[in-house]
C-alpha cells in the first residue's frame, strides 16, 4: 500500500475517511440493533460501497443536488443528512426528515441537497435530469449526482434519462454503483455488456469505469465528471465497481452469491484498507482516525437515543401532505 501520486490533499483524504466511517459505523449500528431485535425495519445495507459516496461527496457543495435509491444510507450520509433526523425517519418517528411518513426508502432533506430517494429501480434518473435542467435554466453551476445500481441500467428509465441528459447537455453525473448483483440475480445473467460504462456511447456521452473500492481512484474520476458538469460540458456516466457485503436486504440468505467471492470482497474491506493506507503513508495517525471514529460513534449514540425517544407521528398526519391543502 504505497503512496499515491494521484491522491488529494490531507484534508480531503480525511474528509473521505470521515464519511466512509460514518457510513460504516451507522450501518453496523443498524445491523446490530436489527439483529438484537431492538428495532424492526426493512434494511438495505450499503456496507462495502462507502468509498463511492465519499468519492463524489467531497467534490460537492451543499447546494448541489443528489438523488438516490432505497439502498441509499451511504449517499444520505455522504451528502450530509443529519444523523438524528435520519435515524428518526428510519424508525418512522415524527422527528424524522419526512415526519416518519417516507421511511428509509424515501429519505429527503433538501437542506442538505438530498432531494429524492426512490424505491423504484431506475426512476431517479429522469428526475435527476429535472434538477440538472433547473440549474441549467437558472444559469447556476450546481451539479446533480444521481446514484443507482447495475440492475437499474437495464430498465427503460435509464435509457430515456441518459439520452435526454446528453441531448440537453445537462449538468448531471450518473453514478452506477455496480455491486455485481440486482437483488438475487448476478449482473452477467441480466445484462448484455460487461461494463455498464459501455452504454454511455449509445448517448454520445463519456463513460468511465472505476474501482469503486479505491477511494483515490474514485475521487479522481468523480472529480473529473463533476468538474465537466459544473463547467457546462455535459453529463458523464461513471460506473464504480464494488460489492454488497450483506446481500440485497437484511435477512437475505445469500444462497445465490458465491461464498468465496463474498469472503474475498469482505477481506478486502475498502474502509479498513483505506484506514491502513492513511496510517501507513503518514496521512494520519491511528489516534487521529480513532478520534474521528469516536466522534462519529458518539453522534450515532445520540441519534439513536433521539430517534428511539421520539414520538410516532400524530394520527392526523396520515391525511396531511397529500395535497397542498389538506382534505381534498
Amino acid at each position: 500500500m504505497s503512496e499515491r501520486p494521484d491522491a488529494p490533499d490531507r484534508d480531503t483524504l480525511l474528509a473521505m475517511f470521515e464519511i466512509q466511517s460514518r457510513i460504516k459505523l451507522c450501518d453496523e449500528r443498524f445491523r446490530s440493533l436489527l439483529t438484537s431485535g431492538q428495532i424492526q425495519l426493512i434494511y438495505y445495507s450499503p456496507r462495502g460501497q462507502e468509498c463511492i459516496s465519499a468519492g463524489w461527496a467531497v467534490h460537492l457543495r451543499p447546494d448541489d443536488y443528489v438523488v438516490t435509491i432505497y439502498r441509499g444510507l451511504h449517499d444520505h450520509l455522504a451528502k450530509g443528512v443529519p444523523l438524528r433526523e435520519l435515524w428518526a425517519e428510519f424508525l418512522g418517528r415524527a422527528t424524522g426528515t419526512c415526519k416518519g411518513k417516507g421511511g428509509p426508502m424515501h429519505i429527503t432533506h433538501p437542506a442538505s441537497g438530498l432531494m429524492v430517494t426512490t424505491g423504484i429501480v431506475g426512476s431517479g434518473i429522469p428526475i435527476a435530469n429535472g434538477f440538472g435542467l433547473a440549474a441549467q435554466l437558472d444559469g447556476t453551476d450546481q451539479v446533480t449526482v444521481v446514484n443507482f445500481g447495475d440492475g437499474a441500467s437495464n430498465i427503460g428509465a435509464f435509457h430515456e434519462g441518459l439520452n435526454m441528459a446528453a441531448v440537453w447537455k445537462l449538468p448531471v453525473v450518473f453514478v452506477c454503483q455496480n455491486n455485481l448483483y440486482g437483488e438475487h440475480t448476478p449482473m452477467k445473467m441480466s445484462t448484455g455488456v460487461d461494463f455498464i460504462s459501455e452504454r454511455a456511447a449509445a448517448y454520445g456521452m463519456p463513460g468511465v469505469t472505476v474501482n469503486g473500492n479505491d477511494p483515490v481512484a474514485t475521487w479522481n474520476v468523480m472529480g473529473e465528471a463533476i468538474a465537466r458538469a459544473r463547467a457546462g460540458d455535459g453529463p458523464t456516466l461513471v460506473e464504480a465497481r464494488t460489492y454488497r457485503f450483506y446481500g440485497h436486504l437484511m435477512g437475505d440468505a445469500m444462497e445465490y452469491m458465491d461464498k468465496d467471492e463474498r469472503k474475498a470482497a469482505m477481506e478486502a474491506d475498502p474502509v479498513v484498507l483505506y484506514r491502513e493506507w492513511l496510517v501507513s503513508n503518514g496521512h494520519a495517525t491511528d489516534a487521529d482516525l480513532s478520534e474521528i471514529e469516536e466522534v462519529i460513534t458518539a453522534a450515532i449514540d445520540d441519534a439513536v437515543e433521539f430517534a428511539m425517544n421520539s414520538p410516532f407521528p400524530d394520527a392526523a398526519e396520515l391525511y396531511t401532505d397529500v395535497y397542498a391543502e389538506t382534505g381534498k
Binding site: Y65, V67, G96, T97, C98, K99, G100, K101, G102, H106, T108, H109, P110, M115, V116, T118, I120, S123, I125, P126, I127, A128, N129, G130, F131, G132, L133, A134, A135, L137, G156, A157, E160, G161, N163, M164, V167, W168, T320, D321, V322, Y323, A324, K328
Partner: protein, 341 residues
C-alpha cells in the same frame, strides 16, 4: 375568483375562440407572468407548434429553452418535470395522447403524485401534465382512451377536465400556479371545432378556482353531472327533454380532484334525481365514485337510483359505426334520465 367566472360566462364582449386557442392563451399568459413556467413535450416547438398546433408561436415568443421539444421518451419528460418542479420551476409537460400515460405512469403516480407525501411536505411538485384525449376520430384502441379514473384513484394528483374554452383557460392558469401536480385533460374533438365547442374567452390572467363546479344550465327535475365534452351532450339532452317539459339541471364539475360534491349534492337535493355522464369506460369510472357518494349521502332523499352513462366496457373500436356506439350519445343520456323519472 368565482365572480370572475360568472362575469366571464355572462360577458358577450369576449372574442369567441376555439379551445385550442384558449389553452394557448393560458400558456402564453403563464409564461409571461412567471419565468419559472416552461413547457416540454414532443413536437411542441416551432415550426409546427405541436401536432395539434396548441403551442403555436410560443417557442418563437419565449425561446426554445422555455418551450422544449423532446425525444419520444415520456418517462424522461415527466421525470424532468418532477425534478425541475421540486427545484422551483412550474413545468407544463405535454403527453401527446392520454393512452401514452401508460408508458410513463410510474413517474406520474409513484413520483409526481407521492413525493410531497413521502417527503413529509418538504418537496412539493408543482407541475402540470397536459394531455389530449378522447374517441371519435377513428384513431382506434390505443389513441382514444380517457383514463382520469386511474388518476383519481391515485391520491396526490389533481385532475382538471374543461368543457369550454373559457374554462380551459381559467383552469389551466390555476393548474400552472397550483402547488400540486395537475393532470389537465383536453378532449381533442374540442380543440379547433369553434362551431360546436367555441366560446368567449376572457383576456389576460383569467383563473377559475379548482373544486368549484359550474351549473351550465338550471333545472328542477333531474341533475345531469358531467365534465369535458359530454357536458355539451348533457346540454343537448336538456334542450331536447325541455320540449317534453322535463327540466334538467346540468352540473359541470370542471375539476374531478378536488371534486365539488357540495354543488352536486345541492342540485340533487333540489331534483332528487341524478345521472352521471362521462366518455371513459363506465366500469370503475369516476361515475362509480360519484354515484356511490350521492347514494351514501342522500339515499333517503333520492326518488330513484343514480344512473351512470359511460363508455362501453370495451376497448375503443376503429370502425366508425362501432366507435360512435362506444361513445355515450344524447339518446343514451336521454334513456338514463327517463329511468330516473
Amino acid at each position: 375568483m368565482t365572480d370572475t367566472t360568472i362575469e366571464a360566462i355572462e360577458a358577450p364582449a369576449h372574442p369567441v375562440l376555439p379551445m385550442a386557442s384558449a389553452i394557448n392563451q393560458a400558456l402564453d399568459v403563464a409564461m409571461g407572468l412567471d419565468p419559472k413556467v416552461f413547457l416540454l413535450g414532443e413536437d411542441i416547438a416551432e415550426p409546427s407548434g405541436g401536432v395539434y398546433k396548441v403551442t403555436m408561436g410560443l417557442s418563437t415568443k419565449y425561446g426554445t429553452h422555455r418551450v422544449r421539444k423532446t425525444a419520444i421518451s415520456e418517462a424522461a419528460i415527466i421525470g424532468a418535470a418532477v425534478g425541475s418542479a421540486i427545484a422551483g420551476y412550474r413545468p407544463v409537460a405535454e403527453i401527446m395522447m392520454m393512452d401514452f400515460l401508460a408508458v410513463c405512469l410510474d413517474q406520474v403516480t409513484n413520483h409526481a403524485g407521492k413525493i410531497r407525501y413521502m417527503s413529509g411536505g418538504q418537496t412539493p411538485v408543482p407541475m402540470v401534465i397536459r394531455t389530449s384525449a378522447g374517441a371519435g376520430r377513428g384513431f382506434g384502441a390505443q389513441h382514444s382512451e380517457l383514463l382520469e379514473a386511474w388518476m383519481i384513484h391515485t391520491p396526490g394528483i389533481k385532475v382538471a377536465f374543461p368543457s369550454t374554452p373559457a374554462d380551459a383557460k381559467g383552469l389551466l392558469l390555476t393548474a400552472i400556479f397550483d402547488d400540486d401536480p395537475v393532470l389537465f385533460i383536453e378532449q381533442m374533438m374540442m380543440y379547433w371545432d369553434v362551431k360546436r365547442f367555441g366560446g368567449p374567452v376572457p383576456p389576460g390572467d383569467y383563473r377559475i378556482p379548482f373544486g368549484v363546479a359550474d351549473v351550465k344550465r338550471e333545472g328542477t327535475d333531474v341533475t345531469l353531472v358531467s365534465y369535458g365534452r359530454q357536458v355539451h351532450d348533457c346540454l343537448a339532452t336538456a334542450t331536447k327533454l325541455a320540449e317534453e317539459g322535463i327540466s334538467c339541471e346540468v352540473v359541470d364539475l370542471r375539476t374531478l380532484v378536488p371534486c365539488d360534491e357540495a354543488a352536486v349534492f345541492a342540485s340533487v337535493h333540489k331534483t332528487k334525481r341524478a345521472v352521471i355522464v362521462h366518455e371513459a369506460v363506465q366500469r370503475c369510472g369516476f361515475g362509480a365514485e360519484l354515484s356511490s357518494r350521492i347514494h351514501e349521502e342522500m339515499f333517503s332523499e333520492l326518488a330513484a337510483p343514480v344512473q351512470r352513462v359511460g363508455g362501453a366496457n370495451t376497448p375503443v373500436p376503429y370502425a366508425s359505426n362501432l366507435e360512435s356506439d362506444f361513445i355515450p350519445q344524447v339518446h343514451d343520456i336521454e334513456a338514463a334520465v327517463r329511468k330516473t323519472l
